[in-house]
Subunit: 239 residues, 2 copies
Amino acid sequence: MDESAEAGRRQLNTADLSALEPVERRSTAAIVADRIRTAIMRGTFPPGTQLGEVELAAALGVSRGPLREAMQRLVAEGLLRSERHRGLFVRELGAADVRDVYTARTAIERAAGLLLLAGDRAAAADRLTAALSRMEAAAADPVALADADHAFHAEFVAASGSPRLRRMAETLLVETRMCLAALQETLPPAAALIAEHRELRDAVRDGDAERMTAVLEAHMADAVGRILAPGPQVPAVPA
Amino acid sequence: MDESAEAGRRQLNTADLSALEPVERRSTAAIVADRIRTAIMRGTFPPGTQLGEVELAAALGVSRGPLREAMQRLVAEGLLRSERHRGLFVRELGAADVRDVYTARTAIERAAGLLLLAGDRAAAADRLTAALSRMEAAAADPVALADADHAFHAEFVAASGSPRLRRMAETLLVETRMCLAALQETLPPAAALIAEHRELRDAVRDGDAERMTAVLEAHMADAVGRILAPGPQVPAVPA
DNA sequence: GCGCCGCGGATTGTTGACAATAGTACGAGC
DNA sequence: GCTCGTACTATTGTCAACAATCCGCGGCGC
């Protein structure tokens, strides 16, 4: 009598609930931090610029309290530099920082790649293929291509299933884009870029660890060379 | 006439200035964050405990403003979990988190180790030897030994010269100690622990990359096994 | 008896104002 | 002419009060 008692009566089960994702309840500070992070990433706030609190707060329509909380988050992420009683500045990234970012990225993405190989390779390859096709679709537009490149690497690490690697990678990717924006770096030809990433996906799909790490390291080394080599467009603060 | 003009006259040069380190000018939020981080690390605030703002602010002698900023920092580091209008809670680490922390640590420390080998190995070995002797001095006291172990790994990564690896490692080390404190884990016999670290230093000193990575990975795998194996003292939230 | 509704206490989120500090420009003294 | 001292301005650091939201408990209706 339980299951077929009344026509319209039905208990809520977990399957129903899992269809509902938790309602968006993010703190104001988190939203503000996202906004500013994106602006820094896109080069809207070039490195070295001072971010006035009242100015930003007014622009974002919030008070200084939440804004300061957001700033602390960004300072913790290493995107901002705080000088007491002086203000907050967008961090300037020099040549050493570019190398450091890519060193760290290599470490993280290598580990993520190995996790991928140890897990469900087919599923991972599918996710990468999807990211790859988004890169192809964006091949014509440089900024969209940069977005897609960012998304590919984020997906690469996210697919590993490691929340910590994922978070670290996201921070590093933001710094990467800061470098690109600051140094006016132009991405390599879309075809070559996509080919490199396709090779990465193939290595994952085939479970070839050695090839995967080799491609990854070459990819990173290439990027560093490309950013730092083409003559000092910017003096590139040695610090 | 410039250099030997007057007896007592001498220009200030950069060498003089480099002897002076910048005066300590840290923000209140940073200090508060350090205090709370240490408390969490030491297990003073066990996982799951709610951190009331007014309570903490009163205890630390600051207002809620700076305290909230510090909290945002810790949330960004992943030590705290924030629920809107509910409060801040110390994150609970389950078995999956233990594995994840060590996965990330392995990635970071491996990269740092390779950087060590590529740099001044002798200097790095010296720093590690010093850290090692501090471990030996603390062998008798379990908590001091845990501190020294923490310090050794921090030194290991710091010696690599990569600020980003260093910061990530520090965050992960804090989480490591949260695990230890939460799971009531007892460190292995001091002698064995020190021997493992000594082997790591030897590998660095000798420039043996393969041995270094092997020892490191074994060390990490051991730790995970030790933390998770000895029977489920705590149900270890599967999430 | 069971479930729904409203209320009270407590906590967080946000705001505006106050205080302290650093940078800047100007003038006096050597 | 250069350096040092001083007032001013602008910005950040801090605080206490207000508003919004959520949890637990008691009462009500079914």
